[in-house]
């Protein structure tokens, strides 16, 4: 139980450190970091590598945006198993629906409630 938290902490932290090195050393913008990390998650997920990391680190692997890419590709694979070629299109967003819908809903709600701070 305690080790679950320790592993979530250091694996999650380390994934962020990789991004920090890229920001400081290559001047990549946050948008490019997030985009490449999601694609990295898709690639790692397609070989089943990322699932092994999730087994080990739990939220340390699912909370970073890399886990979102993994969710997309695992969803596509599951979609293919269940409904053949159509699953290529329905599986990915289907598996990631919760996160996408929550971002759009809470994002909109927050922008209605809150106003921009004066800088």
């Amino acid at each position: 139980m305690i080790m679950d938290y320790v592993n979530a902490f250091w694996v999650g932290g380390l994934i962020c450190v990789v991004a920090q090195i890229l920001i400081d050393k290559t001047k990549m913008t946050p948008a490019r970091i997030l985009t490449s990390f999601v694609v990295a998650g898709v690639v790692l997920g397609s070989f089943g590598i990322y699932d092994k990391l999730i087994d080990f680190a739990g939220a340390g692997a699912t909370v970073p945006i890399v886990g979102f890419g993994n969710t997309l590709v695992k969803g596509v694979m599951k979609g293919i198993r269940e409904e053949g070629f159509l699953g290529v299109f329905t599986g990915g967003i289907g598996a990631a629906a919760g996160g996408i819908a929550a971002s759009i809903f809470f994002g909109f709600l927050a922008s209605v409630i809150f106003n921009a701070k004066q800088k």
């Binding site: 902490f9 450190v17 991004a19 898709v42 340390g60 996160g99």
Partner: protein, 147 residues
Amino acid sequence: MNNSNQEYLDYIEKNSPKSKLWRNMLLAFLVGGGICTIGQGIGDIYEKVWGLNEESVKNAVPITMIFLGALFTGFNLYHKLAKFAGAGTLVPITGFANAVVSPAIEFKKEGYVLGVAAKMFTIAGPVLVYGINAAIAVGMLGYLMGY
């Protein structure tokens, strides 16, 4: 005297970017790891206290983290944490929520259609476009290869 001053300045010049990188890495590690640990805790509460099944927990944790990211962004707290935590606040899913909410609030003055709704996807859009397309490409390849 002057010479040693110059040497000292050179020393600072040579070493400060490096030590700044180490400092940034440490902060990204601590804050990023911390956010993931919170996610682990939320998942444990859903699973062990509320008795949600594994599949539901997989959906409930990101939704909760996105809610928290949106809330902290609204109160202008996420921005403050991001100032010193850098990638530690960017990479977790809360950073994705921040990337949605932050431009949505900022461009509210341009209206709810072309301001809020359009600008919401300034960063989230590219993430979804490349993430979804990459997954579809992998799926098509897998399907053709007889997966």
